[in-house]
């Protein structure tokens, strides 16, 4: 093979690929650098909103008000490594704990479901549920994130059983999502296992 041919056929494609990779990695890195703080802030805000919603607190629309409500009313209880074990929720400027929120992870159809589960201070009944992360089928299992589904858990008591949509009558029942039995069952497991977890974490540390 001639020298010019080696450069054209072997070396130039490699150099071209390296250069083009460098250019596009630089562009995406710059965009990521400019937006990473906003993304981290969004994640943090989502967790704060989830904790307040699960605790049954009326959510303000303004993100700044959400931050303020969280800072005034919620205390994060952490372990020795700094990991949050549970959240204590009070009335503003009060020392009396109104409710607790634990974050639980369960197995959904396509991946993990992360949920915030709120309890009354006696840990006997649910304050609420917020789905923090899920990758269930949009429009089907993804409906676990819809308001009508989440709202039905307020005041319910574990252990919970599922009934068809529109049929829940007792405090131990909740309405399943038609056509999404796996996702419904994952939420049922999360809710039912969270009471024992909350008792262990909260009562065990007091």
């Amino acid at each position: 093979m001639k020298k010019g041919s080696v450069v054209k056929k072997r070396i130039f494609p490699v150099v071209f690929m390296l250069l083009i990779t460098l250019v596009f990695i630089s562009i995406t890195t710059v965009i990521y650098t400019f937006t990473k703080d906003t993304i981290a802030l969004n994640e943090r805000l989502r967790l704060k909103r989830a904790v307040l919603y699960a605790a049954g607190v009326q959510l303000p629309d303004d993100p700044v008000e959400i931050e303020k409500a969280f800072d005034n009313r919620v205390t994060e209880v952490k372990d020795d490594t700094g990991k949050v074990r549970y959240f204590e929720v009070r009335e503003s400027d009060s020392t009396v704990i109104e409710s607790y929120v634990v974050v639980r992870i369960g197995a959904g159809l396509w991946g993990e479901i992360t949920a915030g589960v709120g309890f009354d201070r006696d840990l006997e009944s649910f304050r609420g549920l917020e789905v923090i992360d899920q990758v269930e089928t949009p429009g089907l299992g993804g409906r676990i994130g819809e308001t009508w589904f989440k709202e039905q858990f307020r005041g319910k008591r574990p252990p919970l059983a599922t009934v068809p949509e529109g049929d829940a009558t007792t405090e131990n029942q909740f309405e399943a999502i038609t056509g999404a039995s796996y996702s419904t069952s994952a939420i049922q497991d999360i809710m039912n296992s969270s009471q024992e977890y909350a008792r262990m974490e909260i009562l065990g540390s007091q």
């Binding site: 690929m17 083009i20 089907l140 993804g142």
Partner: protein, 204 residues
């Protein structure tokens, strides 16, 4: 001349050479995202953005790009634009980003983008390639949006998340699952082909 070429690009991509119902490309996302209109619209905007810019970039580089590595380069370009869409959604539309989940990343594998880069951008100037990307994206979008409107109404009784049909309506679960998209896409292609065959029959 330029105006004629642009009109031809749009006429082709929206009609006779439509990526979805004529070339049957981009079917994975047609099945996946069309059960909810909001997700479909965001997916379509993302696809128009990626197809237009990747077409233009491939066209700009076409005279320098060694042909034996062109598909690697195209994939890199497409992936970079998809990552940009993903980052922008996470930063500025976090709720939509969460709902779309892995689908945004899957724009990379959408056959329409690579198909237009190979079939059009490699042999046309950047401006026209950019417009071809937009036209292909719109051609893809209107089919998906039409399917999504029917699927969301029948499957969830709502449109854009707002209840439309009320309590009397029993949701068709099959419409929010992939088979519902197969039925709707087949019906869509059937209607369009029927109309076009009729028009061709009348003109000949």
């Amino acid at each position: 001349m330029a105006g004629f070429k642009i009109r031809k690009v749009f006429a082709d991509d929206l009609g006779a050479n439509n990526p979805v119902f004529a070339q049957v490309l981009g079917i994975c996302s047609t099945l996946a995202v069309t059960n909810v209109l909001k997700n479909t619209v965001v997916m379509c905007v993302g696809l128009i953005f990626v197809t237009a810019l990747s077409n233009m970039t491939v066209s700009l580089l076409r005279q320098y790009m060694p042909s034996r590595i062109r598909m690697m380069v195209e994939t890199l370009i497409i992936a970079s634009y998809v990552i940009i869409v993903d980052i922008v959604l996470k930063a500025f539309l976090p709720d939509v980003s969460r709902q779309l989940g892995p689908y945004v990343g899957l724009i990379i594998t959408n056959c329409i983008i690579m198909g237009r880069a190979e079939a059009f951008a490699l042999s046309n100037p950047p401006g026209l390639s950019f417009l071809d990307g937009i036209a292909s994206g719109i051609g893809y979008s209107y089919v998906l949006i039409a399917i999504a409107i029917v699927r969301e109404i029948m499957g969830s009784g709502s449109i854009w998340g707002y209840p439309l049909l009320g309590d009397w309506w029993t949701n068709w679960s099959i419409m929010v699952m992939a088979p519902g998209a197969f039925f709707m896409l087949a019906i869509f292609i059937w209607i369009v082909k029927g109309i076009r065959d009729k028009e061709e029959g009348e003109s000949s």
